[in-house]
Structures are given as C-alpha cells and as structure tokens.
C-alpha cells in the first residue's frame, strides 16, 4: 500500500512537471546564423504561455559559446500570451558552429520554474563584393554548385508558401530559415521568384467578345484592381516572412508573364483608355501588334507615321503600361523596397522578350534576359546589348544576363532524326528533351556574358549540369555532357571569382555603331527580335563578327538623347518609323552620321550603305554565319574611308569588346571559331565544337603595357602609330581579357598598423603604382590574402577593385582565433606583382 501511494505521488509529480513544461514554450524560429562581424546581432527567442494561469517574473538568459550568461527581464505572460526576447550574439568569432544555452525563469502561482533550450548557431564568412553567379533552380545540396563558383541559389520555394497558399506557412517558413542559415554560413545567398502568373484563372484577359482568351493566350489581366491588390498582399506576406534573414538577398518578380499578354477589352480597360486618350481603343486592335501595314487602308507610301497615330498610340500605351504588367511589377518592387530595410535586389527576366519600347520590368532594380548558347553562343552579347537599351529607359537600372545550361533537343539533335553515327549519349538518354549545352558553346557564351558590364550572371537548368541524385527528375533536364561542368568551373573560379569586382565596375564605352530596333516597325510590320531571333537580331551578330562593337538603340533613346558619339546607325527591318525619329535620322545623316540600310528601310531615307537582309537557315548554321560574317566585313571595309572603329581583329572568329575606365582599356576577345563535333555535329544543326585560333587584336590607342589579368602576366604587344596590337592564341572556345595601360605597373604598396587586438578592427590600404610612382587611378583588379597565425587563409581574403587609386578594407581578427602574426599580401591581378606585410594580433 505504501508502495502504491509512493507511485501515485510520483505519477502526480511527473504529471505536474509535464504540465509545467507545457506552460512555457520557448523556441527560436528565426535566424540562427550571422555574418562574421555583423553588428547588433541578436538571437530572437519566442516565449509563449500555453497554460491557463499567468506567468510572471519572466527572465530570459542566454550563454553563447560558454560566455557569461546575459539576462533580460521580460515581465509577465498571460494565458496564450507571446513574448519575444533577444539575446545578443557575439559575431567577432571565427566562422563555424557554436553552442548556445538558453534559459527562461518564471514563476507560476508564486513558485519558481525554469525551462532551458540548447541550440547551435552559426557564424558565416565575411561578406565581400563579388560578381553574383546565380543558379536558377537550386539542387538539394548546393555545395557542388558552390564549388563550381555559384554564389547565389534562386528558388521558388519561399514565395510558394503564400503564392501557392501552402498549409502551415509558419512551419514551412521555419524550415526555410534553417536552410537560409546554412546558406548564410556557407557564404551563399538566396534569391526567390515571386511569380503570380497563375492568377489568370481568377483575373483573365478578355477578348473583344468579353470572353477570356483560351489556351496559350491565357494571361492574368494585371490591370484588374482586385488582382493587383491580391498580388501586392501576397508580395507583402512573402517579404515580411523572410525579410529578417540576410541570406534572402533578392527576388525575381514574375517571369515570361508578358509572353501571352494581349489587349484586354474589359469594361475597365475600355473606360481607362477612353479617359486617357479621349477616344475608344481603335477598332483595328486585335492582337499584340497592328495588322501589317500593307493591310492597313491609307497607310502612307512613306511608311512614316505620326506620333499620335491611333494604332501607334495604342500599342505604345499597351506595351508601356496598358497591359498592366509594368505598373504591377513596379508595385511589387515598391513593396519589397518599403519592407526591406537592407540591400535587397529585385529583377525581371526575360527583359527583352517584348517589342523595343522602354518600361519592361517596371521599377525593378535590375533587368536580365536569358538566351540559349546555340546556334551561335555570342547570342548573349546581342541580347545583353538589347537589355542595355531597355534599361536605358530607367536611370540606374542595372543589367544582368543569363545563359541556359539546357539545350532543346529538338533544335540541336532532334529525336528521330536519322544520322550516320549517333553520338554515345543518345543511347543513354534516348528520350531526353532538354540536354546539356555543349562545353565549347558554354565557354564562348560565358566569356561573352562577362565581357559586358553586368551586375550579375545567371544560369538555368542545373539538372543538366550536375545530376541531382536526391531527386528523381525523370523526363526533365538531363545531363548529357559532363565537360560543360568543368568548363564552367574553370571560368567561374579563375576568371569571374578572381576579377568579379572589376568585371562589375568597368564602364561600357559609348557606342560608335548601333542597331536601331524600331518599335513602330514592330507594331506595323511584325518586326522585333524578341530577344533572340530574326534578321534584326542576326544583324547584331553580323556586326559583332565584324568587330564593330554594336550597341542597340531604341526610338525613344534617339528622341530623348539624340545620337551622342554614334557614327554609324544600322537600320535592319526599319519598315516604318514615327515622324520625329525619321526626321532625327535624316538630320543625323546631314550632320555626317552614316546610315546602313536594308531593303525594308523606309523609302525616304537613302542609306550610305545598302545591304541585303540575310535569312537564317536552321539546317545550315555555318553557311548562315559565313553570310553574316561576309556582310559584316563588307560593311567594315566600305566604312573604312569614313570611320575607324576602335578595335579590330585579324579574323572575324575573334570577337572583341572593349570597356574603358579612365585611361585603361579592358579588351575582351573570344574565339568563336567552330565546326561540327561529335556531340551534336552529326545532326548538322549546331556547330558545337570549338577550334583553335590565333591572330592579332588591335586597339586604336597607345599603350605602355598590356596585361592578362587571368594569368596575371604582362603580354607581348606592339604600340605605334596610334594603335596597339596584341598577338593572341586561343584554345577551342576560349576567351581572353587584356588590360591596356599607358604605363607599366611599377609596384604595389600596402598600409596597415603593426598590431591589433583580437576583436578590434584595423584598416588595410592597398595601392598599385605605375612605373613613374603614380597610383593607378582607374578601376584595377587586386587580390588581398590574409593568413592567420596558423598560416591559414582567412575569409577576409578577397578579390577587389581599386578605385581612385586605392582599395581600403576593414579587418577584424576573431576573438577566438590564435594570437600571433598575420601575414597580409596584396597582389596586383594584372601584373602579378605583390607585397606582403605582417601584423601582430594580440589579446
């Protein structure tokens, strides 16, 4: 009996203990990872009273990595009440994982109680300026991608919590926070894609008959006020949910949503148009552009339309604001910016899959555009130039670009095509619809991507690069060429990582040659490149192969900015022009500007140089390239008496591009010499195998030194008569970067104190001086290496860009690192010259 009573008491006590446990709930659902040396870092601890009685005298204490307990008095908690306490986090620690012991003390019915929680938190590496290398789509384990040189993972998961209205959002978000912690610790940053295209079911565009468009024409009517409200609400929820985690670094705002956009004839749209323009939407408006001008009654023989032509006016309005997408994207961007109190990037991609008129992507921070590395991998230069033209409409809007890792099987090695020798991969992946881009094409595309001043480079189709063994993706993207991974690793680590800060900064030169992409011709003649094809697009490639470094110019650019230093205006597919543009072009010509026109050019403009358009043959890619090259070279030759391009190459397979910073030129050269190889060559659709190439590249300037910053060596050159010529030798698909300076690099200097206490900061000032002892004041690449007392490279080490003669870095040796001498080396990436100094780190 006594024993029974004892057991009863024990059980009762246990129950009470469990009940006590349940009274107070303690959790850390937010971030548990911090950037080294992050200021004001705190661990947020959530407390909740699950019991019926009030809890008072609540005191939260925490000990980080064995340090003394820090306490915080939090008062009382009523039934179901919640409190958030914060424990300061010491971030002057070496990167790694540290224990944290939390304890909450409180009293219930006057009796003291406590609850403890042990968890780990992470200190991630220092954040340095770098070229973001973004993977659209994130494999389950990102570490192999990080080893390849990727810095950012774009996922759809975060936004989906609210976009797809997932159940238990708090649970999902906490899971995402743990994933973000790991990314932060590893130095990776996350991007997201807030994509609301699904709303077309609820808010569809309607045709003239008032009925929603069907099938492929379905599209969200982004002008619908309820739809706009819902989109903004969802965006707000997403940003609020993730804003406190710094690994969440940016978001794409929708994608491909304008592909199916077409005039909507809802009552609201009709009213809005009438209100704005004082008349109805013209009867002729039906699709995404007007009828072909040859079908329009009374269309002038001049093919010059007035700026207030009703159709031109409608379609200008439609593509700039009327279809609702640009204002919607601006609204979504504004919400992100309002809620985020830290750097956070918004972007829109694909940015130029619309007619050539400003505004796509709205006010987003950055425009990007993806294209494919075939049939010609320098495609990415053309679409990037187009993206620059689009971004020119919004001051400060940045540009990024993206190469697809995937290739459409149907366009490269079609299933069912009979060929003499099927390549080996076909037997392994007979049904693959999306395969891996050929390695040499990737090499050319990647070099081309970084030759332009972009703020980030992106890639899509990770499954085609590395097989994600943790996910069964049968039927999706297939990895059919493992060489592509090696190529990417080589360039991303040895070029992009090493020179990223410089690649991001060195400005573009103002173009001397530009292709006019006419919006009016898109509207009335169905023209436009849509970011990847057609004679207009190929004409950009033609000029690239001719080393004329073409830019792209919109009609709006001409009307706002004039022609600036432009010498040659190439006008492919300019069947129709608005009168002010037409008149501006005539005046440009009168002032000595040169016009290159094709057979479609409006009849009132007499080009200085007449060329015939070239129709691309899908089955004869090399013949098409040869035709474009021939015409490009002919243009170059015939312009010779009137215009001297800034750069030249000894053969058209060496494609050049120059950017300039002060008196330094950054000359990119890419080897586009290709033939049919053993990967896709048998099908004859894509010449995917690179060939070796050699020759010279010439720049119209005098140079005192030329450097290869990838290999960090001076290279041979000849500089006289106002030009500098550099001999070049390329492997298949290879690229090169040369820095041309007026004087050679003399030496490197570094200033820093002789000692510093651990946990305190010190400044390192690096300079590169030329042979006359003057600091190089142009944007210039350097590498800073810090080795701690153990001789280990620390995460303070980074690539950097000198600006205005120096680069200054603040360094804080960690509190828990070994004390002793640190070695600091500053290396000039151009010449390879370096200097080392030591600093004593003390207690």
């Amino acid at each position: 009996m006594k024993r029974l009573f004892f057991l009863f008491i024990l059980a009762a006590l246990s129950m009470t203990a469990i009940a006590m446990e349940m009274e107070m709930e303690m959790a850390v659902p937010g971030r548990r990872a911090f950037i080294r040396n992050e200021k004001n870092a705190i661990l947020e601890v959530c407390l909740k009273n699950n019991g019926k009685a009030e809890l008072d005298g609540i005191k939260l204490g925490g000990s980080i990595n064995g340090a003394p307990v820090v306490s915080q008095a939090l008062g009382r908690l009523t039934h179901n009440g919640k409190l958030t306490g914060s424990i300061p986090v010491e971030t002057h620690l070496m990167p790694g994982t540290y224990p944290c012991n939390l304890k909450v003390e409180y009293s219930l019915n006057g009796k003291p109680h406590e609850k403890t929680l042990e968890l780990a938190f992470m200190i991630g590496t220092e954040e340095h300026d770098r070229m973001p290398v973004i993977s659209w789509g994130s494999p389950t384990d990102f570490s192999p991608f990080q080893q390849l040189g990727f810095t950012h993972a774009l996922s759809w998961g975060y936004a989906h919590v609210y976009v797809r209205k997932r159940p238990n959002p708090e649970f999902l978000i906490e899971g995402h926070y743990r994933a973000l912690d790991k990314m932060l610790a590893a130095g990776i940053r996350a991007y997201d894609l807030i994509h609301v295209a699904y709303m077309h079911e609820k808010y569809p565009r309607v045709g003239r008959d008032g009925q929603p468009y069907q099938e492929a024409h379905k599209n969200f009517d982004a002008t619908n006020p309820d739809g706009l409200h819902e989109t903004c609400e969802v965006t707000e929820k997403i940003i609020n949910a993730y804003k406190s985690h710094p690994a969440y670094a940016g978001t794409g705002i929708n994608s491909e949503v304008r592909d199916n956009s077409r005039p909507s004839f809802s009552e609201l749209q009709l009213k809005e148009y009438r209100r704005k323009f004082g008349h109805d939407i013209p009867q002729e408006v039906d699709g995404r552009s007007a009828s072909h001008y040859t079908r329009l009654k009374g269309f002038p023989v001049s093919r010059v339309v007035e700026q207030d032509d009703p159709l031109l006016q409608y379609y200008t309005w439609f593509w700039k604001e009327g279809d609702g997408w640009n204002p919607l994207h601006s609204a979504m961007h504004d919400i992100c910016k309002k809620l985020m109190k830290r750097p956070f990037k918004t972007f829109y991609d694909p940015a130029v899959r619309v007619p050539p008129v400003w505004g796509n992507g709205g006010r987003t921070d950055m425009l990007s555009h993806w294209t494919y590395g075939y049939p010609d991998p320098i495609n990415i230069a053309a679409s990037t130039e187009e993206t620059f033209a689009m971004a020119a409409g919004r001051k400060g809007q940045e540009v990024a670009n993206m190469t697809q890792i995937i290739a459409y099987r149907s366009l490269t090695a079609p299933i069912g095509n009979r060929v003499a020798n099927h390549p080996g991969w076909v037997a392994k992946e007979p049904d693959a619809k999306y395969i891996t881009l050929a390695p040499d094409l990737m090499r050319i595309a990647l070099w081309t991507q970084i030759s332009r001043k972009v703020s980030a480079i992106m890639f899509h189709g990770h499954d085609s690069l590395i097989v994600d063994t943790q996910v069964n993706r049968e039927g999706m993207y297939r990895c059919t060429n493992h060489e592509t991974e090696k190529v990417m690793k080589d360039i991303l680590l040895n070029v992009v990582k090493k020179l990223g800060p410089v690649l991001k900064r060195v400005p573009e030169r103002r173009h001397q040659v530009a292709v006019l992409e006419s919006f009016a011709s898109s509207v009335f003649a169905g023209r436009g490149t849509w970011g990847w094809s057609g004679w207009g697009f190929d004409s950009i490639l033609m000029l690239l192969w001719a080393n004329l470094s073409p830019g792209v110019i919109y009609e709006e650019t001409i009307l706002r900015d004039g022609f600036g230093p432009l010498r040659v205006l190439v006008m492919p597919h300019c069947d129709v022009l608005p009168r002010p543009v037409y008149e501006a072009v005539l005046e440009f010509q009168k002032q000595g500007g040169l016009i290159v026109g094709d057979e479609f050019l409006v009849p009132g403009i007499t080009p200085d140089l007449q060329i015939d358009s070239i129709q691309r043959s899908r089955e004869k890619p090399l013949e098409t390239k040869a035709a474009l090259v021939a015409t490009g070279l002919e243009i170059r030759e015939r312009l010779k008496p009137y215009f001297k391009p800034y750069v030249a190459a000894s053969n058209p397979d060496i494609v050049t591009h120059v950017r300039s910073s002060g008196n330094a030129d950054y000359l990119f050269a890419v080897n586009d010499k290709r033939t049919f190889g053993d990967y896709w060559g048998a099908y004859g659709l894509v010449a995917e195998k690179g060939l070796p190439n050699s020759g010279t590249v010439t720049v119209n300037r005098i140079a005192g030194a030329v450097y290869d910053p990838v290999r960090s060596v001076a290279v041979d050159f000849k500089s006289d008569g106002g030009t500098t010529t550099i001999p070049v030798k390329f492997g298949p698909g290879d690229g090169a970067l040369f820095i041309l300076l007026p004087k050679p690099v003399g030496f490197v200097t570094v200033d820093m104190p002789e000692s510093v206490c651990a946990g305190a900061s010190f400044m390192v000032k690096a300079q590169v001086l030329d042979s006359s002892g003057e600091p190089i004041r142009t944007i210039h690449p350097v590498i800073l290496e810090f080795r701690n007392a153990d001789g280990v490279l620390t995460d303070d080490s980074t690539s950097a860009a000198l600006e205005n003669g120096s680069y200054v870095q603040t360094v804080v040796p960690p509190l828990n690192g070994k004390k002793g001498a640190w070695n600091v080396t500053v290396r000039d990436s151009a010449s390879g010259k370096s200097i080392s100094k030591t600093i004593r780190v003390t207690e």
Binding site: A216, R258, H292, T294, K433, P607
Partner: protein, 310 residues
C-alpha cells in the same frame, strides 16, 4: 570712261555672282557620278535638299545606275506628283531591282483611283523581270486575300516545345473541285461556308492532271466538309498540309486563314496554318483551298490533317 568702268564693274559683279553660283551648284552636284555609292548618295541627298535642283535630280535619279538612288527617286517622284506620276512610273516597270520594284508596288497600291492602281500594277504584273514581283502585282490587282498566320511554335514569346497530341487526317477522297480559269472564284464566294458546291466534281488527294484536268495550269478550288469531335484540351490547333502544288490560299468555315505562297518552289513543301480560333469543335467544318499551279502537275497531292498541339 567712268561709264565704261561702271559697266565693267557691273559685268564683273555679275560674272562673280554667276561663277559663285555655278561653283555652289557644282559643289552641290559634286560626287553624284562618284563610283563610291556613299559619296554618290550623299551628293544626291544634297541635291534633294536644294529646291532649285531637287526636281531635276529626282527625274535623273529615276534612271540612275545606283538602285538606292532609283528607289528614293521613285518615292520622291510619286510623293511629289501623285497620280500625275503614273505615266513615268509605268515606264519603270522593267527595273531589275527588287528594291525599286517594291516601291513601285507600293505606289501602285497607294493610288487613290482603282483604275490608276490597276494600270500600274497590271503593267508590273505583265512585264516585270522579277517573277516574285509579277506575282505580287497580279495579286494586288486581282486578289487581295492575305493573312499573316502565326503558328504558336513560331511565336517568339513562346519558349516551350510543342508536340502533336492528336491528329485527325481529313479524307483522301471526296474533295469537291472546280477549275477557275477566269480567276474570279473569290468574287463568286467559293470560299463561303454555305456555298453550294454540289455540282462541283469530286477529286481525290492527288494531282488534278491525273483526274480529268490534264494540262490545266491555273487556279483550282477545293472544298471539303469534315466533323470535329468534342473539344479536346491543347495549346493550339493547326491545319497541316503535307504538300500542295504550288500555292494555296486557305479558308476555314468561311474565314480566311492564310496562304502558302512561295510560287513554283512551294510545290513539295509542307506547311501549317494556325486555326485555333477558327476550328469548330463538335461541329461540321468546311475547309476551302484555292490552289494556283503555273506549270506541270497541280493540286493538293499529299494528305491534309488537323493537328492538336500540346
């Protein structure tokens, strides 16, 4: 003596004026005969800017050896003279350059009076040395059906692969046919859905030469009715023609769909036309094809199908 000097002065001033003016004029004309097209065209443009010389420059330009100057001259001449330019334009219809003939076609289309328009277009259709231009002029004068039929797969904004999910082949036999030597079937409504074709001959898919029309080159009209099943899900619907010898203009349910108009070289080339909007699911549909053959065999000689794309 004074008078003599004064007269001399006046002559001198006049002479100077004439010389300066001539030099100025010569400067303007400088380069018009240059072999470098850029210089030649720049000189031509300068002349156009001179009100005194523009008219003469344009008239001379109509027969300049440079096709670009001829194109601009035709445009300027027509813009300045309108219908009065017609007699001169008719004289130019043998120009071998597409660049020039294109602008002549535009003028022909632009003339306000149909009669004037037909004069120029018929002249082009009759004597142009460019076959494509002749055909265009003929159609502009006589047959105006045209539609830019855009297939979904060619939509530059559509970045996805499409596959044929279902294929409904139209009958190989039972096509109603009528030769149209007068080329006026379109004015008689042959393409209309409810047109009575019961008296037309019945042909099979194959050359019309082998089915009672031996040696016939010209226009022929085909009509066929077919039932479509109830609506199936898909991205788009297309009419797939495996081959029509040579050119074809297509109507579905009385609505003009598009054309396959490559001339003689189009005889063995397959083509597709988007009919997503025009197809009537679960109903009887009427397909009408106007075929033009200019030599040897002609007609719809390979099967026609309706394809559902996903």
């Amino acid at each position: 003596m004074r008078k003599y000097v004064t007269m001399h002065k006046a002559t001198f001033i006049l002479l100077t004026f004439v010389l300066v003016f001539a030099a100025w004029g010569a400067e303007k004309s400088k380069g018009i005969a240059d072999n470098d097209p850029a210089i030649r065209r720049a000189a031509f443009r300068r002349l156009l800017d001179d009100p005194e010389k523009a008219r003469q420059a344009v008239i001379a330009g109509l027969r300049d050896e440079d096709r670009v100057i001829r194109k601009r001259s035709v445009y300027e001449y027509y813009s300045g003279n309108g219908v009065k330019a017609l007699p001169e334009l008719v004289k130019l219809v043998k120009d071998p350059e597409p660049l020039v003939m294109d602008i002549l076609l535009s003028c022909g289309k632009d003339l306000k009076e149909k009669h004037d328009s037909i004069v120029l277009l018929s002249a082009i259709a009759k004597v142009s040395v460019l076959e494509n231009i002749r055909r265009q002029a003929d159609k502009m004068a006589n047959f105006t059906f045209y539609r830019d039929n855009k297939r979904l797969k060619d939509n530059p904004a559509f970045d996805h692969d499409l596959i044929t999910a279902r294929l409904f082949q139209l009958p190989l036999d039972g096509w109603r046919f009528r030769a149209d030597a007068a080329m006026d079937g379109h004015t008689k409504g042959y393409f209309k859905k409810d047109f009575d074709d019961s008296k037309w001959k019945i042909l099979k898919i194959g050359n019309w030469e082998d089915q009672g029309y031996s040696g016939y080159d010209g226009i022929g009209w085909y009509r066929i009715s077919f039932d479509m099943p109830d609506k199936k899900d898909g991205e788009a619907v297309e009419l797939a023609f495996e081959a029509v010898d040579e050119s074809a203009w297509v109507w579905l349910n009385g609505i003009y769909i598009g054309q396959h108009d490559l001339g003689p070289s189009g005889w063995d080339k397959p083509f597709w036309l988007d009919v997503t909007k025009e197809i009537e699911w679960g109903k009887k549909n009427v397909l009408v094809v106007r075929v033009e053959d200019t030599a040897q065999a002609g007609g719809i000689w390979r099967p026609v199908s309706v394809e559902l794309l996903k």
